[in-house]
Assembly symmetry: C2
Homo-oligomer: 129 residues x 2
Amino acid sequence: MEPLSVLKEKGYRLTPQRLEVVKIVLEKLDKREHPTFNDILAEVKARMPSISASTVYNILKLLEDNGVVVSFEHNGRTYYDRIEPHINVICLNDGKVIDIQSEEVLKAFENEGIKPVAIVVKGYCGGKA
Amino acid sequence: MEPLSVLKEKGYRLTPQRLEVVKIVLEKLDKREHPTFNDILAEVKARMPSISASTVYNILKLLEDNGVVVSFEHNGRTYYDRIEPHINVICLNDGKVIDIQSEEVLKAFENEGIKPVAIVVKGYCGGKA
DNA sequence: CTCCGTGCAAATGGTTTGCATCTTA
DNA sequence: TAAGATGCAAACCATTTGCACGGAG
């Protein structure tokens, strides 16, 4: 369902702050980016300078609690990600987060009885140990 | 290789603090536990009250940098884990970390050209969405 | 008009750092 | 005895909280 419909349906108010954060987050996630909280805050502040950090935290938490985004942590920071099941590889060579779509891995999880919401793998992307 | 041999070979000094932390960490990891930094600190302090938190941090970082343990983050805390490839499922129902050995999943990662060091999946262990 | 949501500032808590002291090799 | 480790306290920084004000419904 549309993220905004999800919120409206549950009775959450559609404030300008929420509209802006949702727009920016979805923009980034559609591009397969893995923005940190600060990435998002910076972008939001650029367009709505008066917004406060705690409001952005609140909104991101709201989005996560309502299944609009997922998050994972790395190096003390929170990263946001899209809901569609896929694999994020944090490459220990260069620290980059790489997005991989692997039906085989998803199928393997399914066979284990696991419904994955976020899959994060620390490893070596180039095959180098 | 033996964790202590790894350290000795690289020229690190085998201080009583290091011996104690290594012993306790390996004890826990052998039991398939996923201790947080604080779990480890508490256990170490119980046996060696004078040790400082920063020393334990330093030692755990040393162990991780030398491939003796791996770590992952969740809810703002760092968890330590054994090196042997396996899957950790963080169940979104109950918050527990469950250890799963799945050759199928590991094989699927291998087929994607990924050498996994730590695999963490947020999801639903009981199959419940 | 009434809550819910926001913004601010202060608090929290895990982790890191600087530095003097101590100890392993 | 000299480089490497430790312990302590302070610093750091991402996140959370409390509360008065403001705006969506």
